[in-house]
Symmetry: C2
Subunit: 216 residues, 2 copies
Amino acid sequence: MSLTLYSYFRSSAAYRVRIALNLKGLPYEVIPVHLVKDGGQQHQAAFQAINPAELVPALGTGQQVLNQSLAIIEYLEELQPTPALLPGNALERAQIRALALDIACDIHPLNNLRVLQYLSGTLQVSDDAKATWYHHWIRQGFDALEQRLSQSPSCGQFCFGDTPTLADCCLVPQLTNARRFNGEVSRWPTLTRIEANAMQLSAFQQAAPEQQIDAE
Amino acid sequence: MSLTLYSYFRSSAAYRVRIALNLKGLPYEVIPVHLVKDGGQQHQAAFQAINPAELVPALGTGQQVLNQSLAIIEYLEELQPTPALLPGNALERAQIRALALDIACDIHPLNNLRVLQYLSGTLQVSDDAKATWYHHWIRQGFDALEQRLSQSPSCGQFCFGDTPTLADCCLVPQLTNARRFNGEVSRWPTLTRIEANAMQLSAFQQAAPEQQIDAE
């Protein structure tokens, strides 16, 4: 099976999938899609045919192209069950998925490129008000996550237990993103402790934006 | 097992879970959480202890409280595998999950109550500009979904095949929401055709906002 990842170095959703592919030890080819250059290459007809939503990541599997980072990672989990990114029993898997979705549904969609572009462009919001928007949602989301994890008996070296799961695949890219927007991440000691553990692993290191072939 | 759903009749994320519970034939008790009254009951300490993210739905399982609608539905799928909401093989399940996430990540988070409140309150956006925002994201998301489904050989009576899946649990509530904001849903003939099929089923009918004990 030959896997092809349509990726942008700064996309935190693509970063999630890169981490998962690396943790699974699955080789893949990266096809960069520049989200800013040429008015956004994701809007070009060639990419629209790959993903009508005009978003990265997308994963070519040889048979079909999959979209949505979490759906892609669930697919990788079924394709290659070890190391497990959704370990445990049904209740435990639900907790891991919920942590991932706390980021993927409640933080990331509000702060990604197309939304910030809409705020500046269509709504003519000032740079200050846009930064306030950004920090509002990341703070609201990460404050809740910090509380949840710091109180969770299941939280260990990673979000759930002592090995990386789907939740960590989402957490690390979102923290990278928060830093890029000058977020004070020291506010979330549990989250940054987990991130530091993750960044000891080559799977996370090699998935980082600055390690990508399209890094600027 | 006794299941307790923290729900609000208008919450489309809670509506997804109500559909899934009904499709699985799992009995559950509803505890209404009013998202507007009293400044939002989801922000009160009693609910914050249940879900630090201060969002509905949450599902009490007797052992633990789960949050995030899609994580809850995945849990229900493991608890009671039939009727399957994620049928097929790994690639097919990935497609179904991606359709659900197209709605849960790319449409719903931008148009839910807390975001509309931020636009009006903090950003002082006019009602017209807020409506334009709402329709922009629903149109962008549903246009892509319409294209994807109308071209998909797997789309049948429902988003995937001829029985309801996780994708339909997300689609129907989002269409209900679009109508509430005066969206011209006729723009999406495949989506509304699937919705009409779903609304033939009592599982969908009984999950609808107007059928809830807290409906206004």
